[in-house]
Symmetry: C2
Subunit: 155 residues, 2 copies
């Protein structure tokens, strides 16, 4: 056994630093935190802002559909939507007695536009060091990994 130790003493960090899952989770936490702060001036949480964007992209969609799109349960969509209606950002219209179509109000459209801009700035601030191509490749990789996990889950 050599007396001279070349390697630095193993840091505790090494225990998790080579785990991809650890880095995904850790980055996710700070990204969501940054987004929450960025949206705070609009008094919107990330889930609420995303809801506005989804309704803007497909006016008339139902709240169940928004929930499926964002991975939010029906039971949790109800108060979320109710809150946005109370704030006059969206309005609801009966379609067939059980479904209700969602639309942005005038104020809601302005707010959605502001949220869109804030999110764009947030992404640029956080991920701007990556080229547009690198960002697209990263998105494709993350989407593929997600699909892989999801399909294996239901298998």
């Amino acid at each position: 056994m050599p007396k001279l130790r070349v390697a630095a003493p193993p840091a505790q960090k090494d225990a998790v630093d080579n785990l991809l899952g650890y880095h995904i989770r850790r980055l996710s936490v700070v990204v969501m935190s940054d987004l929450a702060n960025a949206l705070a001036p609009l008094r919107l949480k990330p889930a609420e802002a995303s809801t506005l964007l989804v309704i803007a992209a497909k006016p008339g969609t139902s709240q169940s559909e928004v929930g499926r799109c964002l991975g939010i349960l029906r039971a949790n969509m109800a108060p979320l939507i109710g809150n946005l209606i109370k704030r006059n950002l969206i309005e609801r219209e009966r379609v067939d007695g059980r479904s209700q179509s969602l639309h942005l109000t005038k104020v809601g459209k302005v707010t959605a536009h502001d949220a869109q801009r804030i999110i764009r700035e947030h992404e640029a601030r956080l991920f701007g060091t990556l080229s547009a191509g690198a960002q697209q490749r990263m998105i494709a990789t993350l989407r593929d990994l997600w699909q892989r996990v999801n399909t294996e889950d239901s298998a």
Copy 2:
């Protein structure tokens, strides 16, 4: 205006599908869920398993240090460590009256080893489609992005 529409009607998904933050968060959720399921047979949550790995990597470390390493507050480390001690996985030794050094028990070492294996299998199952090099590059990118967000936060 052309009568023939080439593009498909915009899906609601488009509202968030080009956001890197959305994909990071979405993947993080399913990865953590998969890890929780994989660790369930050991009756360990991800935070508990990570704690065992950190202590294994640096025996004698304090619980505050483990918390800093994993991003868990002191206040929340107390019951976590208490639980692991109750289960005879780790033991605690006074160092200087306020600090206490943590060590794995014999059972804890076996459990930590099992957890290590389960996590390795979990990572291989989820990320095995990526080459070792691609995984390392991804880790490096995620680490850089995390550091960027963190340093800007404290600025």
